[in-house]
Amino acid sequence: MSSHKRRQYPQQQIAAYDVSAGTEGAEGPGYGYGGEAYQYADQGGVFVPAAGAASIVPTPNQVSDQLGQMNVGGGAYYGAYGGYPASGPAANPNSPGMASPYSGAAPAAAPFGAPAPSASQHNASFNDLQTVDMIQSMPPPVNDLDLPPPPLAVPIEQTITRSEYAQASPDYFRSTLNVIPSSPSLLKKSKLPLALVVRPFIGLRDSDEQIPLIEDMCIARCRRCRAYINPFAQYTKGDYRWQCNICGCANDVPQNFDWDVQSSKTKNRWERSELNYGIVDYVANSDYLARPPQPPTYVFLIDVSVNAVHNGMVNCVAETLRQTLHSLPNSDNCTRVAFIAVDGALNYFQFPLPNPLKPDERQDARMLVVSDLEDPFLPTNSGTLVNLTECMPVIERFLESLPSLFANTYSSNSAMGSALKASLGLVKSIGGKVVCITSSLPSVGLGKLQPRDERKHLGQKSEHQLLQPANNFYKSFAVDCNKAQVTVDMFLVSNNYQDVATLSNLPKYTAGSTFFYPGWSAKKHSDSLKLQAELGGHLSQELGFEGMFRARATTGLHPSQFSGHFFVRSSDLMTFPTVSRHHSYVIELNLDETIKKPYVTIQGAFLYTSSHTERRIRVMTMQVPVSDQLSAVYASADQQAIAMWFAHTASEKALQSGFDAAHELINTRIAEIFKVFRTDVLNVHTGTSSTLSLSSNLMLLPLLAYALKKNVGLRRNNQILSDIRANALDLLQTLPMPNLIKLLYPEFYALHELPDEAGLPDENGNIVLPQRLNLTGEVLQSHGLYLLDDGQVMFIWVGNDVVPNLLMDAFGVETLDEIPSGKYEMPVAEDRELNCRIRNLINASRQRNDTVYFPSLYFVHQNCDQSLKLWVAALLVEDRSESDPTYYQYLTTIRDNLAAK
């Protein structure tokens, strides 16, 4: 078989198809089909070949033409796929080493994705500074977004056990600067932010992670600063004492440290996990319990007013909950649930326990209507908050009948504020999760809200006022929830104004999540699919309860600002009534004195109760080198972590002071970074210059910052409704790093030129992704087919001149007219291999184990309406938008401003 298995739909062939249009298109030139199709069938039976497919392989000429049209990096583009792509050198011959010194540092067989030590880790030298000319290296090598951060240049001798895994994996715990400036003045001079990016969990379930667990309850901590022992601690006095590497205090090694409880024998201390791994889990003893672990508890508040019934939400939610009941965390059969249906009144449901004498007797839930909204009455007798396992059959029957119960409702009011208060009363002594699913604005009772006059503010300086809470009830209620260890999640399913800005405050300060579905209707299949997937996915993740996170760092360095969804209970303690496993947090660090040591240690400890009602501590430790050289600091800065800091800081700025202030913050900071790099790192002081330099590891930072300015949350535009804005800002402050980077700079693939392996599972069963394209209209070819995916929405862009065969392969249709535009699920054509691969790619993005978001799919082609086209155009962030120039112009403006100074 030919070595060229890539399918091609090149421009030149359109004419051929036009000519042979009448002859069923089977004999036209140019399709490498049948042969390779059979080959796939041989490999895994994925694809059944279509009868009569032609088997003509594209000539080398056609292939090279095709590659020539690619905007990104020539031969290396395909050649290097599989490892980290070396797209840099191809795009920029001036900087041969730019493919980054760490591109080979992929983890080999690490138990939990810890970066394997690269050569530079064995000696104390820092990462080399590689200078890149930003303008010469256009277009930006976006496939480098998948690279790991610059390695921490800490020699392995720093650890007592010489463990390769002594540093916490950057997936969990990373610093914006992997070399920390030695003095506050140097940090200030560098203009780079110093912050930690923390993601306590990288998967929705415990089984998605492999963290060593220490079960012998022997937890060695510093008696002064309470830091946990770690691989970087030093031992003195014949190993009987250890010196804390955070505060320097000498501590006794606990007596049981060398004792194996299970076998009652002395064990080798140096094999203990906490001395070998940067991330460990401890099973905590009763010292870490404020009260006995509580059963997982859920209260569901379901809106049953006219809005919710009419758009089909009640039906869809009841069905989803019924299916999800069995996958709620319930390992010890002690999970408890309650349901309150909310319209103008509160409708409680009481579930009778099965009668032990007559187990087969059918019992039904009883409804209890309460219409006092100011001080809602609580049904005190049991039966409202019940054990899920015991009452499963009656709850299932109840959820089946719920839609019909309210099908003929007339109440257009919603007393959601009062319902929230009542649900807090129900679970006050236990804690847990209140899941609020609503389709209307709370209009009666406590915390009622009115639609705000958006038109007056949109596009004005005062626009950010729409993002401030309209009412004090929700913030002060969030404080009450924290006292009672209750998290509130909001599912806002509406076709009207929903005041996301106010309602999202509850999840924000109780460590919950807000999910927003604008213009939702159950009539649209993809809408109900999305709500079902996200509600079900969110509820079935393994929860943590009563979480606390504290970061400690070597003297001179301490946490100062915290950003994300949680409640700050003291100057250095973040608390989480329940832990959403798909969130991430940013902690700014303050450097307040000169650090004389060559390394600093940063440790984060996350204490929580697992859904198996076991108290656990996850300790993450990293050691970071210190330097007094600005070039060393720049060479080890982590562009993705810095971009994440920008996202959190700019969103906060937008909420407080408006969008102009947020843009100003990004622009100034990026310009300052370029300036410092030029004058203080490269020592260039003379006038004009045609170059704009930055270190290669920061090469994509300006692009990410530029994309951040164009994100829906911060974009300058007078058409974006405040609900959409508030939700986008919420995402910017919660998404973990890979998802945030994807949101800022969506993944963009050419489906008509998929490499052979793309869209098919690799040996581990993961779907292989093709190379990303740059987000610019320049790469779009009118005969092409593209997938754009930002993790929240996906678009399939169909070119105007797409050949019928491609349509047939991709969608199983003959003409463009048969593909509806707009929100639509991918048609299934089992016998078409390309169709299978595209669906694989879409499902891979939807079924990730680290996020519950389920992106909707939109089809975009010439016949679709203008607003959809504009939406896609706005995601092509390197292009010009109505308020911003192209990325290229953005860079040249910075260069000209620098040269003018």
Binding site: K475, S476, A478, V479, N482, K483, N505, K508, Y509, Q561, F562, F567, V568, R569, S570, S571, D572, L573
Partner: protein, 147 residues
């Protein structure tokens, strides 16, 4: 002739303000050293924020109505400061954001404290002047009665 009484009232009300701001500052300090949690802090401070402003407002009204214009003018900056703080809707503490905002509240309390400290001496001084002036005026009128 009312002046001694007015300045006595002034110094008493001012002492109330002075004490309140001192109390606030101590609590802010406690928060920073984690001696008190944000929820308790807000429960302790918030009930007194508006009354504290009202005390000052009533003092200003008394001064204005009794014709002590210069003393009233002396109080105008704080009156405006309080009004702006009330208008912004951020005069009372928000427990969810307290660690981001506490330095600002602390600074504002400190400014108020300094103001009230100056005002304290101002009222005492004026009170003494007024009492002396009152006594002198009475002394001047006494010989006429004697003769």
């Amino acid at each position: 002739m009312w002046s001694p009484l007015i300045y006595t009232i002034g110094s008493i009300l001012n002492a109330v303000n002075l004490f309140t701001q001192g109390y606030f500052l101590v609590l802010y300090g406690d928060l920073e050293i984690d001696y008190i949690n944000p929820i308790d802090l807000c429960n302790k401070i918030n009930p007194y924020v508006i009354p504290d402003m009202l005390v000052h407002l009533s003092l200003c009204l008394i001064l204005l109505l009794t014709g002590h214009f210069w003393t009233f003018l002396f109080n105008v900056p704080l009156l405006v400061f309080n009004y702006l703080s009330y208008r912004s809707g951020r005069s009372v503490l928000d427990a969810t954001e307290i660690f981001k905002t506490v330095s600002k509240y602390k600074r504002n309390s400190f400014i108020r404290l300094i103001f009230h400290l100056f005002a304290f001496f101002y009222y005492i001084f004026n009170m003494i002047i007024a009492i002396i002036g009152h006594a002198v005026a009475q002394n001047e009128s006494r010989p006429q009665l004697m003769t």
